[in-house]
């Protein structure tokens, strides 16, 4: 056993994050730690990596008890970690980034040629395929992740921890990551692979340990894995919704009123939202938009798949009116929206939910009540002459919190104090209060656990079924395949309709390999 945990426990105040967790990692194997968001995966990794000290239990390294004290201790012993959020310097090159993180680099000299040779060798051995002189900020996410991996590998770790490494990757990039992991394992490195995606775990892991609410609920070898059993271990009993809504590809039957075949050109239903030739130059926000055209009908839920940074942020921002398009048109129920302010667009029935709930969606330092009132504080129904009756907003907040199941001590609680799922409910509550005709959401399930993601998607589906037009822009292809009527792809700012719903074909479009 190279790394072993026995009876690990960790509490944060009243919250038990880890309870009696055992874990064993052998030389040259991939151990997946599977679980929902909030199951304790990150806490466990932080304990194993020395970023957190356990309250109970012990960690054994090569059979001997250790206390890392800090990540530096773990690093020195031979534990490397690739975090979900990268710690790269975007303005520097790949080589410089790796060199800077290396512990043995000489303090006062910059021997880059030698470092280059070493990094090239490393890149080749593990199939990382790095362009050493490229500026990291210019690289796609998948390549940035490989830089992070190279940083960890440059220290020749015995154990490499990968924290949700596939969260931001397209299917093709995932395959590539897995090839790299296999090369590592073949060379004798052990890998701890953290994920909440069962199918991926079953593909890459030798063994699987499932965490639920801080406890290990299952441990098994891949070849003995029983999928229904694992699923139940992850979400607990009575979790049938997960299997249906979750990460398996379920093709939704088209609604009765939709045309018999997607290739049928004439739309039977009139377009609610019609976007034509929307164009925006590439800039620091991303690749821009290249003549994006699409239509969304009343009652339709359209999924927009794509790897992050392919124009998703721009599309949402241009539709919201936060960024401007250089040409094209956006028509909602026949009315042109370009040139209208975000406020006017919202009044006309278009509601756009940004991708970053904490920074763009909600005013974190303001109360739930104020966030719910953000669009309508001075609305006629809240006024008493010149002044606003704040009590009306209080009562409204209580009602909306109840209707949308926002869990908080009260309407005075700050938005930033809520969990991700409750923040999303709060944001949806605010937007749905205006009864929008058309809803556009960017990454609505990002950072949410399976339960919260499921309830969000269910809400959106119900809205569409009630006649609202819904566009979901997301990197979670499986969710889109399971819930959307139609899935399109954004790649380098270009919109691709995908008539067939095969995962493989859409995946190819996402990485720009046209079928």
């Amino acid at each position: 056993m190279i790394l072993e945990a026995r009876g690990l426990g960790k509490r944060f105040g009243p919250v038990v994050a880890l309870d009696q967790v055992d874990l064993e990692l052998d030389r040259g194997e991939v151990l997946a730690v599977l679980g929902e968001n909030g199951a304790g995966k990150s806490t466990l990794m932080n304990v194993l990596f020395g970023a957190l000290a356990p309250d109970a239990g012990e960690i054994r390294w090569h059979g001997r008890n250790v206390a890392w004290g800090s990540p530096a201790g773990a690093l020195a012993a031979g534990v490397g970690m690739v975090h979900q959020h990268f710690t790269l310097l975007p303005a520097l090159s790949v080589l410089e980034n790796v060199w800077l993180s290396h512990p043995d680099r000489p303090r006062f000299s910059l021997d880059l040629p030698r470092a280059r040779v070493r990094l090239l060798e490393l890149s080749e051995r593990f199939g990382l395929d790095l362009d050493l002189s490229a500026r990291v900020g210019d690289l796609p996410v998948g390549a940035q992740q490989r830089v992070e991996i190279a940083k960890a590998l440059a220290r020749s770790p015995e154990v490499l921890i990968l924290d949700e490494p596939t969260a931001v990757l397209a299917p093709e990039e995932v395959d590539r990551l897995f090839a790299g992991v296999r090369a590592l394992v073949a060379a004798g490195t052990s890998v701890l692979f953290i994920s909440h995606k069962l199918d991926e775990v079953l593909e890459i892991a030798d063994r699987v340990t499932v965490l639920r609410r801080g406890r290990v609920t299952a441990t098994c070898r891949r070849d003995e894995a029983d999928v229904p059993l694992l699923t139940r271990s992850i979400v607990g009993d009575g979790a049938t919704s997960w299997a249906r809504a979750g990460r398996t590809t379920v093709t939704r039957e088209p609604a009765e009123t939709s045309p018999p075949s997607p290739s049928d050109e004439a739309p039977v239903r009139p377009a609610l939202l019609e976007v034509r030739d929307l164009t925006r130059a590439a800039d620091r926000f991303g690749p821009g938009l290249a003549r994006v055209s699409f239509r969304v009908a009343r009652g339709e839920l359209v999924g927009v798949a794509g790897v992050d940074g392919n124009g998703q942020q721009e599309l949402a921002a241009v539709l919201a009116g936060v960024l401007h398009a250089t040409q094209g048109s956006i028509r909602l129920a026949g009315k042109e929206l370009r040139g209208q302010t975000p406020e006017e667009r919202w009044r006309l029935g278009l509601s756009v939910l940004p991708g970053d709930r904490r920074e763009e969606g909600l005013v974190g330092a303001a109360s739930i009540r104020d966030n719910l009132a953000l669009r309508e504080f001075g609305a006629p129904w809240a006024r008493e002459g010149l002044l606003v009756n704040v009590g009306v907003h209080d009562a409204r907040a209580v009602a909306l919190m109840e209707r949308h199941d926002v869990r908080a001590p009260g309407p005075e609680a700050l938005a930033e104090s809520l969990s991700g799922g409750n923040q999303q409910k709060l944001l949806l509550a605010r937007e749905l209060a205006g009864a929008p005709k058309m809803l556009v959401l960017l990454h609505p399930t990002r950072g949410l656990d399976i339960g919260a993601a499921d309830s969000t998607l269910r809400t959106l589906r119900a809205l569409a079924d009630d006649g609202c037009g819904v566009v979901v822009i997301s990197a979670e292809l499986d969710e889109l395949l399971a819930w959307a009527d139609r899935v399109a792809v954004l790649h380098r700012g270009t919109w691709h309709e995908s008539p067939a719903r095969s995962r493989r074909e859409i995946g190819a479009l996402m990485v720009g390999a046209h079928p």
Binding site: A320, P342, E360, P409, E412
Partner: protein, 342 residues
């Protein structure tokens, strides 16, 4: 509800603590300089509370701090870092020192006219950097400071030229007309004037504005997160410009009140830096209009008492500035630390 309230209380107790710390550090500095902190404290106390005159003087000094503090509060709540209240104060003073000298107008027209024009002058002066920021991205911290210098020299030129008193003896303006001069509230040579009523109504105005109107709500939200406001259709640019204009208007009013109530005419130097002290006042009050009253009183006491420091305790009046500086720094540090913990 309960949790929100205890949080608020702890934030206020933090303010009291840092105030105590600022006073303690200042006392240590005085001791370090070989003077008696006790004597200095005694002198400050006597200067502020020692006599009826001193007590009225304390309130007189509080009025401009209170109103410029409101100006800072409204701007800072919107995330508009108006460091130009000093210049806006001068703009208001210039209006009062010119329009206010017109004779033979009835008070009922003349006084409102002077106050409105002074507010407009301050508002215009603050609106310019706000417009530069939202349309050109110019940092308002720089542009508002720069405009302070512009106003300083404009004022100096005016009292040496166009607005100089008719006799031309001194670089000062003509006295304001009796129709607009704010009456003294008490006899016996005390200085407290009717501007106090205006100042207190402005506190109420700012409080209601921020808490009960759409503009005030938007000011608070834009200050807390301009990005979220943009996505939610709150007109960020318009809100910032509005907050800046209201802020400048308040500072302009403060300048007018000072000329009409205390100075009686335009001087080269109408403000000992009220527009800057106001920043410390507003931060100490955690940008809450009602809390400005005690905060401004405290700084008013320091201003009023400071004049006795030199003669009674042989300590330079500059010490008052030291206290202000420490309060600003401590407020920022404590605020940042508290945010980091949350």
């Amino acid at each position: 509800m309960m949790r929100a309230r205890t949080l608020l209380e702890s934030a206020w107790s933090r303010q009291l603590l840092l105030l105590a710390a600022a006073l303690a550090i200042t006392a240590a500095l005085v001791a370090l300089a070989g003077r008696s902190p006790l004597a200095a404290g005694q002198a400050l106390w006597n200067g502020a509370f020692g006599s009826a005159w001193a007590f009225s003087n304390l309130w007189t000094k509080t009025i401009p701090l209170l109103v410029t503090g409101l100006a800072i509060t409204v701007a800072f709540r919107a995330g508009f870092w108006n460091i130009g209240a000093e210049g806006q104060f001068m703009a208001g003073a210039i209006v009062a020192g010119s329009v206010g000298t017109w004779s033979h107008w009835p008070t009922i027209i003349h006084l409102p006219l002077v106050l409105v024009l002074a507010a407009l002058a301050g508002a215009m002066l603050a609106w310019i950097p706000a417009w530069l920021r939202v349309s050109r991205g110019a940092l308002e911290v720089i542009s508002t400071i720069m405009l302070n210098f512009v106003m300083l020299y404009v004022l100096s030129w005016l009292v040496h030229g166009p607005l100089q008193e008719t006799s031309g003896a001194q670089p000062i303006g003509n006295p304001v007309a009796s129709s607009v001069a704010l009456p003294r509230l008490f006899g016996g040579g005390t200085t407290l004037h009717a501007g106090l009523a205006i100042a207190l109504s402005l506190v109420l105005f700012a409080h209601v504005l921020l808490e009960r109107t759409e503009t005030g709500f938007r000011i608070r939200m834009v200050g807390a997160s301009p990005r979220a406001c943009e996505w939610a259709g709150v007109p960020v640019a318009r809100t910032v410009m509005r907050a800046a204009a209201i802020s400048g208007g308040l500072a302009g009013l403060a300048g007018a009140i000072e000329v009409l109530g205390v100075l009686g005419r335009l001087f080269d130097k109408v403000s000992p830096g009220y527009g800057f002290t106001a920043i410390a006042v507003a931060l100490l009050a955690r940008l809450r209009p009602l809390a400005l009253i005690p905060a401004a009183l405290l700084f008013g006491a320091l201003e009023a008492g400071g004049s006795r420091l030199q003669q009674d305790a042989d300590v330079s009046q500059v010490l008052v500035l030291v206290i202000q500086g420490i309060v600003i720094l401590a407020t920022l540090v404590v605020g940042l630390a508290a945010r980091g913990r949350e």
